[in-house]
Symmetry: C2
Amino acid sequence: MSTSEKPTRFAVALFPGFQALDVFGPLDILNMLSRITPLTFHVLAETLTPVSTQGLGTKHTISQSVVPTHTFADAPLDDIDVLLVPGGFGTRNPVNVDPVVEFLRRAGPKVKYLLTVCTGSALAAMAGVLDGKRATSNKMEWDWVTQQGPNVKWVHKARWVADEKVWTSSGVTAGMDMMYAFLGEHYGEDVARDLAQAAEYVRNTDSTVDTFA
Amino acid sequence: MSTSEKPTRFAVALFPGFQALDVFGPLDILNMLSRITPLTFHVLAETLTPVSTQGLGTKHTISQSVVPTHTFADAPLDDIDVLLVPGGFGTRNPVNVDPVVEFLRRAGPKVKYLLTVCTGSALAAMAGVLDGKRATSNKMEWDWVTQQGPNVKWVHKARWVADEKVWTSSGVTAGMDMMYAFLGEHYGEDVARDLAQAAEYVRNTDSTVDTFA
C-alpha cells in the first residue's frame, strides 16, 4: 500500500454502556502513534453530554464517563478516514444503541475504514454495513451477534477479520491486536512492533489463531 | 485470605497527560467484576474539569477526556480500599503531576492498597510512599523512574511486583495482568480467569516473566 494513503483521521462512535477497553485499547495505540506522526481524532455521540460506560438497563455498579467532541448530527464525515465502533453490554438495549446504529447506516458507507471491536460488529450488522462482508465478534455473545446480521459472512475462529474497508475483531482485547495489525498494514510492521513494545503488549499477530473460539 | 476482606471500594487518581490504557485496562476489568458483585468507584483529579490524556508539555496530537467525580481535596479517603495510579507522558512535567503527587503523599498511607501502572510508580516514588518497598515500572523509562525513588527497592525483571499493600506493574498493558492477579488473590483465581475469558485476554500470569526487561 502506498504510504501516501496512510489513514490519519480517526473517530470513535460512543453510546451509553460502551465497553471501556473496546475504546481505549485501540485509542491508546493511536495516542502513542500521534507522538510520532500527526493524527486527528473525534469522539462522536448522540449529544455532547459525557457518555457513560453504564448503559441504560445494564447492571454495572461502577462506571466512567468520556467527553464527546461532536454529535452524530455534526460529525465531520468528510474528515474521517477511520471510524471505530466499540461493543459493550449497552448494545443489548435499543434505547442505548438506536442513535449509533442510525449514525452507522449513514456514516459507514462514507468513511474509508470501519473498525469494530467485540459486539460493535452487532451494531454495524444492525446498520446493514456488514452485509456481504466477512466479519467476526466476541465468542461469548456469538449467537446474539450473528442474529443481528443474517446477510453477514460470520467467521467464528478469528482474532480479527479484514474484508476490504471493514475490519472486525473478537472480544474486547482483540481490538488491540486488530489495531496493531491495521497500523502495521498502513504504517509498516516496524511501527506496529515499536508501538506494542512501548506499551509492553504481548501481541497476538496471527488473525486466524483464536483460543477463545 | 479471608473473603470478608475483599476490597470493593476503588478509585483512580488522574492528571493531565495520563496514559489511557493504564487507566482503562484495569478499570475495564473492574467494570466487568461489578456486574457480579457490588463495587464502588471514584474518579479523582485536581478539579472537576474533565482530565485529558494530552498533558501540558506533551506532544500528543490527539486526546480523550474523562470526567472526575471528586477533587483530590474532597476525595473520600475513608471509603477507598484500592487507589489506582496510572502513568503516562504527563508525568514528565511537574505542572501536570505536582497536585497528584501531593495527593498521593496524603492518600497513600490511608488506603488499604495502592496500585500503580507504568510510570505511575514514579509518581508514587516522588510522594515517598514506595520508600523501602519492592516495586517495578515501565522498562523504556526505567532510568528516569528509578531516579525518582532512590530509597525504593526497584525490581527490573517483573511484570508486576506485590509488596504488602503496594502493587506496582510494568508498562501499560502490564497493569491488566496486575489487576487480574490482584483480583485473583482477593476474589479467587476462578473469578480472575472468568473475567479474562470474557474479555478474551491472553493473560501473563507469572509476575516474574517479563519479556520487556
